[in-house]
Symmetry: C2
Amino acid sequence: MSDERELVIEAAKRARAATRGLSIATREQKDAALHAMANALIQHSELIVAANSLDVQAAIDNGTDESIIDRLTLNNERVHDVAQALRSVADIDDPVGSVVREFTRPNGLNIKQVRVPMGVVAMIYEARPNVTVDAAGLAMKSGNCVLLRGSSSAYNTNIELVRIMRAALEGTAIPIDAIQLAPGTTHEAVKHLMTARGFVDVIIPRGGAGLINRVVTESTVPVIETGVGNCHVFVDESADFDMAVDIVINSKTQRVSVCNAAETVLVHSAIADEFLPKLMSAFKECDVTVHGDESLRSVVEGADVPFEIATDVDWGDEYYSLDIAAAVVDDLDAAIEHVRRWSTGHTEAIVSNDATSIHRFSTELDSAVIMVNASTRFTDGAEFGFGAEIGISTQKLHARGPMGLAELTTTTYIVTGTGQTR
Amino acid sequence: MSDERELVIEAAKRARAATRGLSIATREQKDAALHAMANALIQHSELIVAANSLDVQAAIDNGTDESIIDRLTLNNERVHDVAQALRSVADIDDPVGSVVREFTRPNGLNIKQVRVPMGVVAMIYEARPNVTVDAAGLAMKSGNCVLLRGSSSAYNTNIELVRIMRAALEGTAIPIDAIQLAPGTTHEAVKHLMTARGFVDVIIPRGGAGLINRVVTESTVPVIETGVGNCHVFVDESADFDMAVDIVINSKTQRVSVCNAAETVLVHSAIADEFLPKLMSAFKECDVTVHGDESLRSVVEGADVPFEIATDVDWGDEYYSLDIAAAVVDDLDAAIEHVRRWSTGHTEAIVSNDATSIHRFSTELDSAVIMVNASTRFTDGAEFGFGAEIGISTQKLHARGPMGLAELTTTTYIVTGTGQTR
């Protein structure tokens, strides 16, 4: 075993040892620790900002993109926000110990399915220091020990954040090893974490498609995949036009850099002539560029909206920008076929007043969330009322769609008898 | 892409295409198909037995173990049993479409979480032809298309079984490609199936530890791991002695070849002197061999029970035989430490009349099922009242413990609004 692998496994073992104490901690004990962590972060804000400035300077020296540098940067105000997020986690209900179901068998056995922590959770993420604190808080509240593996470009910041949070756990009921940085800064060290099967219970990658794809294909530890979202809005024959325009515009433009933004609009052929000009004039107002086939050119350019010919990349990928792919489809069947072919299984919306169309769209697609007459932007933990945002799962195992704290737990069956045998 | 990989992917694509029809099939349509399959198997029983005899002869020629040949062998009566199992699946409630939860947000959005099929499920299993039929039935009832990859030693049998089941689907509402053999008979072909990410939604291995370990480490498709069971029974200080003897004997001896049989008994030191002689005399009656440390030799051999010195293999592995590892532990803490160190996370039992001990044993271990004053043998889908036995999950993601049909489904959120935007 390489030295680096040994360090990763040793860290996981320390986390495993800490699970016993954390898994039986009460809500009050966990909340007290969360507030202690938040207080410590604010108290040592200067140290954090100083460590962060080393990372930011290195990123500038490396010619890193400005948007990435912005995500990496912490100032006193942002440290305050990050600490506040820990207090919000303290306000959420504790999922541990809640009874999922309970029933008694004819032989008198009482069977109770109870939520329990996963155990050791590893987070692999990019250059966003707020994720370091968020993940530590969410893991703790759900009773899990966490190994944090952020981008090496945030290394100094993450070391300082974790050092401060761990120090804050002294004098609380929570074992210090419940929060750890995963050892190592190399690409290989990530591999050791992803293959620490038996030592780590679950890995949650948070970041772009490249990171997520690497983790899901290389891990031998079970993974919860969070979401790439090529979301569609279908405007049906029976749609209310004003509602359809509002929903398309909101889904596309309210925030373009997120996974629940719409990337494609499909319009039923029966209403295309009447509806498209209305949609294009809204696109014009919002500076949206349309990608479609040649048949759309005249209506798009006629409204003074930029137009480009769409290729497979347009139908398949996320723009993260004020661009949208657009197509007129023959009917509902053609819309369903298009979405089934190109969707990443995140969120699809239909705007319609026809119950049959709505039912078919809801049942014949294969996505985590179907929006009926609502914006795709509502696929979100907070909007669902889950209180915390772990991510949006686009996989089918374990959790699908917005994940709350309960999705960071598993269950145990406790079967109580009076001496029953078979 | 190799030709063989291409064949596997093509089969998965045909299965994917069939999911659209199967996922919206009604319960009546699926049950009718299950009965049609059962009828066809009985009608063509002779063909199945003839194909099976080829596999059995080849196994005999290869000097295969008698117990494996027994599992491989089908006669008319066994074909009848296998067909009957399909009729039992028809009797179980359909999980598809059931509402997991439903709530309305302050903004008026109605959020409904509904059970839907996984899509394409692959089963990888050993030389048990009954699994071919069972898996096809369970997958169909849960709305999933299935790719079946049994042992190549059952190849002729599986070809005939699948041919007959597919033919039976003609004239039903279920697409024929809902049931397919995974192409190829080589080790490599299994690898192609395990890496068909994006084409196959989930892989369920059924078989011994070697098979399961290969699948969980080599798959890039999500896996539901089913269970290796190193189950423990702890006899606490406050245990009723007769109950404890009954539970240990039943857990160990009622059926030794199964994952929910007990492999280790731990006895609290405070009662060891009084309890062990009673337990040994029961072991004597049931021909159990005890593996323990030197301190146990005199009490075991004094009862005329065979004794062997235990090594780490005894503490860590399943016997599948009338052997049991035994140890006297200082107290509850020592019992918990022992189980945490050696358990495979399947089932642990405590025999106790002390509420605090029971609570600590239930919450400080990390296993799928905790039995309180009941035999470990109750960890079973049928005993839990789930109607069907997909397997016992020992992983923490998605499902843990006995799995029913619901565990072969995922969920979709259907969010219904009246034009809401953010």
